[in-house]
């Protein structure tokens, strides 16, 4: 079970260049990288994000570059899951492989109803998202078997096939 507050971006195609602008790819330290998360569209993000927060966004989240720095930046400033209508492939894979955060696919209803600052509780066993602020429940798209196993193991390197 994960609980946290929502930071919502009502837009599609949030690309990895706005999640972590290219100039910060030179940084090696994850906490330094995290200071610049979302700087491309939300320079105040780092100041207002709290540990355990969720990002809610539209379609094709994380499109663009293969930089793993994008999920690293989000995860190291406390984001535990991104809830989006859909994800770009490399971002999704990086998020799961490195066990940085959970990329959760939601439907249009959940996307419309969840607002900025709503308090959510996510149960990935039941594929259920509870909106405590609005007293509503939404479903999430279940992870595939193998993705669940990699997540449960804590990333690709810790995962051992059956």
């Amino acid at each position: 079970m994960m609980a946290g507050k929502v930071i919502k971006y009502e837009r599609d195609n949030i690309d990895t260049d706005v999640i972590l602008p290219g100039t910060y790819l030179k940084l090696h330290d994850y906490d330094e990288i995290a200071k610049h998360a979302m700087e491309g569209i939300d320079p105040n993000f780092h100041a207002r994000v709290k540990k355990g927060d969720f990002i809610v966004a539209g379609k094709n989240f994380g499109c663009g570059s293969s930089r793993e720095h994008a999920p690293i930046a989000l995860s190291h400033c406390g984001i535990t899951a991104v809830l989006a209508l859909s994800f770009a492939r490399i971002f999704y894979r990086n998020a799961v492989d490195g066990a940085f955060l959970l990329p959760i696919e939601i439907d249009e209803t959940a996307y419309r109803k969840i607002s900025e600052n709503d308090q959510l509780e996510i149960n990935t066993q039941k594929n259920e998202i509870k909106n405590l602020t609005k007293n509503e429940t939404y479903s999430m798209k279940p992870f595939s078997d193998i993705i669940s196993k990699i997540i449960a193991a804590g990333g690709l390197f810790k995962y051992k096939p059956d």
Binding site: G22, T23, I41, K59, N60, G64, S66, I90, D97, L156
Partner: protein, 468 residues
Amino acid sequence: MPQTLFEKVWNSHKVTEIDGRTLIYIDRHLVHEVTSPQAFDGLRLNKRKVRRPDLTFATMDHNVPTNNRSLPIVDQISAIQIKTLETNCKEFGIELFDLHSPYQGIVHVIGPELGITLPGTTIVCGDSHTSTHGAFGAFALGIGTSDVEHVLATQCLVMDKPKTFEIRVDGKRKHRHAVTAKDIILSIIKRIGTAGGTGTVIEYRGEAISDLSMDERMTVCNMSIEAGARAGLIAPDAKTFDYLKGRKYTPKNYDELVESWKANLVTDNGAKFDKVFTINANDIVPQVSWGTNPAMTSDVTDMVPHPSEYAKGNKSEEDAAKKALEYMDLKPGTQITDIKIDRVFIGSCTNARLQDLIEAADVIHGRKASPNVRVMVVPGSQQVKKQAEEMGLDKIFQDANFEWRESGCSMCLGMNPDILLRGERCASTSNRNFEGRQGTGGRTHLVSPVMAAAAAIAGHFVDVREWF
């Protein structure tokens, strides 16, 4: 059962199935300075070696300055990242084309020109534009740093089998000099969207694709990722085999290999694709992007669209177009050819090969860059630079007041000294017009090299068809 080219490459690289996913053997791994340091740290931490250093090649391209190579690198953080790659390659026994190597360049330019890229192979790199190598009939895809570590350690990658997507480009281009491979791929992305290829490997087919040179095919495959595809490829043919003959790393038994590639690396008649899209090259004119993703692109003859007209009733698309126009400081209804520019960038893994530079130089005809425009020409590799100089292209560019620089990613991605200043507007031959991509607050218009060169001279976009 008839198979597509991609399915054949996939099947021939299957090692085993794991939990419903496939372990795929990787033939070539290209490494650069930005997405590899944490991967090497991981190997050291776990006391692992590089499984196949002989199949791994490295260069530095992303954060290298493109001015005088004899000068020290001013940015200390970049200097450390470059030094770290040197140290890692030495420690793990990986061949490195460093800043002083005659083979240094953008990783996706040097792979093919050194004969590292081969038909029917699997190629990975910690860079999303790895899809470029698909031009040779390879399955080539970008990966993140965890996967870079995994491939360094095991030479394999676990994957779900992608779906197949046939994109046919029928017919012939009109105005061959003015309508380029860049216009073909931008036209495709404009129509299928930035997520149109998600979960698929694209095979580009049809007369207009066969008609392209290898340099042009690389431009098309390069931007497959901008349509969200895992990879894009083109079946190899006589042009592919001629291109690779006699290059530095081309295998010794090359002629035998060519015979087997000819027999195997084709999509069988009757093979089914999961998805199909067709476009006619006759209809394609020079393209200019006006927004903040590559699908926000128009014909040069059009106007900047109204968000509602662009979105065709889709609310979130309309909002995105409004935000994009605000960021780009453009008004709907402005003729594309009335948009004035401050900067021009001819370069990147999309358009910095020899043919791109030849075509850009061809547009100049003794004219000079508009006095208000700063123009940078950045060859994709030291070899491209040398060949261009042997042809006198450097002189043509410099006579026109275009800067002639050293090879690297340069102003494609805003992480080396070549950046746009806030508010500057650039005609760029690169691949992404995302907000801040070329520097915070910079405004990018994606175009072909000939459109970029013409805009440099005119000071605004022009329909380059009228110049030939």
